[in-house]
Amino acid sequence: MAIGRLTASTREQTLHRLVNYRPRDLDRIFATLSDPTRRAILARLAQEDSMTISALAEPFSIKLPAVMKHLDVLSDAGLITRSKHGRTVNVRLSPAPLRKASEWLRRYERFWSPALDRLAAHVERKEAEARAAEAKVGR
């Protein structure tokens, strides 16, 4: 009986998300994520609260200006924020657009998973009824 697992509000959001996503925003996010260096930058930022640009650039074999260009693209897509502290620039992950992308990728799972939970509850009730009827006949 898995029905109780979902709260009313998550159920309400399920189809809202299925139906009302923003494809243009998402196109930009997916285009931004299609580059392996940018994905590696995001993966590193996911480990740390914030990082300086030089610390971020360190493991990459590309030059600093190339890293800066990737950061511009990430920033334009809303995936990171940059803040200046004196001479250093700190880079942080900006989670909201990523959550949106993740929800979009999982929209059919969000649609079918609660339906299959209800299917299970329904047929398990039917199974109990069938067993009760069979027990009566067998008696």
Partner: protein, 154 residues
Amino acid sequence: MTSLTLVRRIAARPSIVFEAMTTAEGVAAWYGPDDLPVVSAEMDARVGGAFRVRFRTLDGRDHEACGEFLEVVPPRRIVMSWRWAVGGDPEESGRVSRIEIELAPIAEGTEVTFTHADLSSEASEKGHAAGWTGALDKLVRHLARAAATAEKTQ
């Protein structure tokens, strides 16, 4: 093209699960993403037969899916085409996808393998062309999780 597969182990025999998936009465008990009742259901579960299910969601909208039974093998396998006739997913508007259901008997009842295949989207097509969809999905989930944890601790 993308697909989704969900596996459930259910404590009911395959014939009962099969009936719940191939009759209007059965489908009315579980279709749709939330607990609002199905508005109407028609199931003609034979090869070439049509199905049509209409449901309302908590936001007050109506959605209708329809299609055709492509394979019907009681109580083991069902394949049907799937199309949104009303509402649903605008990304899939006018497209035909495919539902494949396998029912395997297990000791406690039935293992249901439910696949929604041939789902298409511009973003996923681009992704597949570049070969990164799986990696991206993983990364996005990881990042969303990491970000949610970071927000909680702030």
